[in-house]
């Protein structure tokens, strides 16, 4: 359970870590959007280079990224299998009923693999190099215009930052509840699907109850420390756009332009 990288932040002293979280968030989105326009190997090569360059600039151990991809390998493999078996067009290698393996199908499967991997790499880079509070600060700052239509921007950002802060805490708690239930003789590894789902209940119920208690304690503690809502607060963390953000934005914009050129010209 602790292998899960979502919401974990690896502090480092690097180019990427010192970037403005708004820049990182927007550029990650840009990357994910641009990758859906990719339709040939040159584009994938370029985007892989950009992704690896970004990872290199973050000084984070590459093994962590591999750990981030591994839990999703089955989803990727399944999607690839569907593409291979149901792909149409191109040279036909093998056919049996509705299944057919074609050259285009295999090519699409390969594309999907690269696409998935790159998206996971970039989003993992975002969460590993940006602390949860920075992400919620960035979202708050980017959503600021929505305040005009009475969207509760601050409250959403606060909920997000608290949710992210409690991810590891709740993970640890899940682990200890599971161990406690194991000690009482619950075996989570065996049984058919219905039995296994039933075994989740002795984990879920205590987890929910404790989450309610935590929420109540946290609300009390926040109130005791003078929290009266989003209005009229100052901010400890100020977001500053720096030279590195401009550099990174230029690189990503250049990548976007080249990708569109390769795609449409």
């Amino acid at each position: 359970m602790n292998k899960l990288l979502f919401g974990r932040y690896i502090p480092q002293d690097s180019f990427v870590h010192h970037m403005d979280p708004r820049a990182k968030l927007v550029l990650s989105f840009l990357y994910v959007i641009v990758i859906f326009f990719a339709n040939n190997w040159w584009i994938y090569l370029l985007m892989t280079v950009v992704a690896l360059l970004s990872i290199w600039a973050s000084k984070i151990n590459f093994k962590l990224f591999v750990d981030g991809i591994l839990p999703l390998i089955w989803i990727i493999a399944f999607t690839m299998l569907i593409q291979v078996l149901f792909g149409t067009g191109g040279h036909l290698y093998w056919q049996w009923g509705i299944f057919s393996v074609t050259s285009l199908g295999i090519l699409n499967a390969a594309y999907i693999f690269v696409r998935f991997t790159l998206i996971i790499l970039i989003s993992t880079l975002l969460t590993l190099s940006t602390s949860p509070i920075q992400i919620s600060d960035a979202i708050e700052s980017l959503l600021k215009p929505l305040e005009k239509v009475h969207f509760p921007v601050y409250e959403v950002a606060l909920m997000l930052s608290i949710a992210l802060r409690f991810v590891p805490t709740l993970m640890d708690e899940t682990e200890s509840i599971m161990n406690a239930q194991r000690a009482r003789g619950v075996d989570f590894g065996t049984g058919n699907i219905v039995q296994r789902i039933k075994k989740i209940i002795p984990i879920l119920i205590p987890l929910f109850v404790s989450a309610f208690n935590r929420a109540e304690d946290l609300a009390t503690a926040m109130e005791a420390r003078g929290y009266q809502g989003g209005a009229g607060r100052t901010k400890y963390r100020l977001l500053k756009w720096g030279t590195r953000d401009t550099i990174a934005t230029l690189i990503y914009l250049l990548m976007t332009v080249v990708v569109f050129a390769l795609r449409f010209c």
């Binding site: 509070i133 992210l164 946290l218 009390t220 420390r225 003078g226 100052t234 400890y236």
Partner: protein, 284 residues
């Protein structure tokens, strides 16, 4: 019960009564006491004696219907509850559940942000608060990377940064190991000497009350005794009856009494007991 009537009473509670909806008996039943400025007062009682309800009432976290609370000359009402809260720093029991920030420094800054302190001043106050609890090198750490004692030190730093006149410890050390407990209490003692903060510690650990100026014993929502620690500890049978413990030196005395060794009547702390033991050994 002795009533302080001095002008320098920072906390004054009169006839406070509170009843939870689902309970038949009131959690607090006509509680009155006052605490002079700069004192360390311990409120003890077994689980369910109303200690935490009392702490929550003082900070306006519970809306009591009967009785009055004055904090630093301000009456606690709906209108000025935030003014009262700004004078009180509270540290709660569970180190994890009161950690609001994503990192140590964010958590310390949270209260200051709420008070709309300007950015530069927040920075300075966070730095000094972290230095005072010796957590400066942990400032970028996340809560899941800290021990329970360290998290409580961060909670204490968050309170220090807000510069309150009163610190209420609502069983703040009950989930810590003995080392973590000593660390927290040590920091608070140091702070109190330096800044003259009033400390109200709510606990069921009698060993924590030895540095208190006064102990108030709560049972079933009522104050049943209050006074200097030496007075309270001397009634060890009462404490044991209430499900509380007695300090180590007192336990030693009881054990000696069982072996028919005459011990002094008055309460003595550990150092006092050591002195007395040496003296009687030398005499013998």
């Amino acid at each position: 019960m002795k009533e302080y009537l001095g002008m320098n009473d920072i906390i004054k509670v009169s006839h406070l009564t509170y009843k939870y909806l689902q309970n038949e008996l009131p959690a607090l039943d006509d509680v009155s006491f006052s605490i002079p400025s700069g004192a360390w007062v311990a409120i003890v009682g077994h689980n369910g004696s109303g200690k935490s309800t009392l702490a929550h009432s003082l900070d306006g976290l519970i809306d009591f219907k009967q009785g009055q609370v004055f904090i630093d000359g301000v009456e606690l009402t709906e209108a000025n509850v935030w003014k009262v809260r700004s004078k009180i720093g509270m540290i709660f029991q569970n180190p994890d559940n009161q950690f609001v920030g994503a990192t140590v420094e964010d958590d310390v800054a949270f209260g200051l942000e709420n008070m709309a302190v300007p950015h530069d001043e927040i920075q300075a106050r966070v730095d000094s608060a972290l230095a005072q609890v010796q957590m400066s090198e942990f400032r970028h750490k996340q809560p899941d990377q800290l021990s329970g004692g360290q998290k409580q030190r961060v909670a204490l730093a968050g309170v220090i940064a807000m510069q309150p006149k009163i610190i209420i410890l609502d069983e703040a050390t009950s989930m810590l190991d003995p080392i973590g407990r000593q660390e927290i209490l040590g920091v608070i003692k140091r702070l109190r000497r330096k800044l003259g903060i009033t400390v109200l510690s709510i606990t069921h650990e009698m060993d924590e009350t030895t540095s208190a100026d006064e102990i108030i014993v709560l049972n079933d929502g009522k104050i049943i005794e209050s006074g200097k620690p030496s007075l309270i500890y001397a009634h060890s049978d009462l404490l044991l009856k209430l499900g509380l413990d007695v300090p180590y030196s007192q336990r030693l005395k009881e054990a000696l009494k069982l072996r028919h060794i005459q011990t002094p009547q008055a309460y003595s702390d550990e150092k006092g007991m050591v002195d007395w033991l040496w003296q009687s050994l030398l005499k013998a």
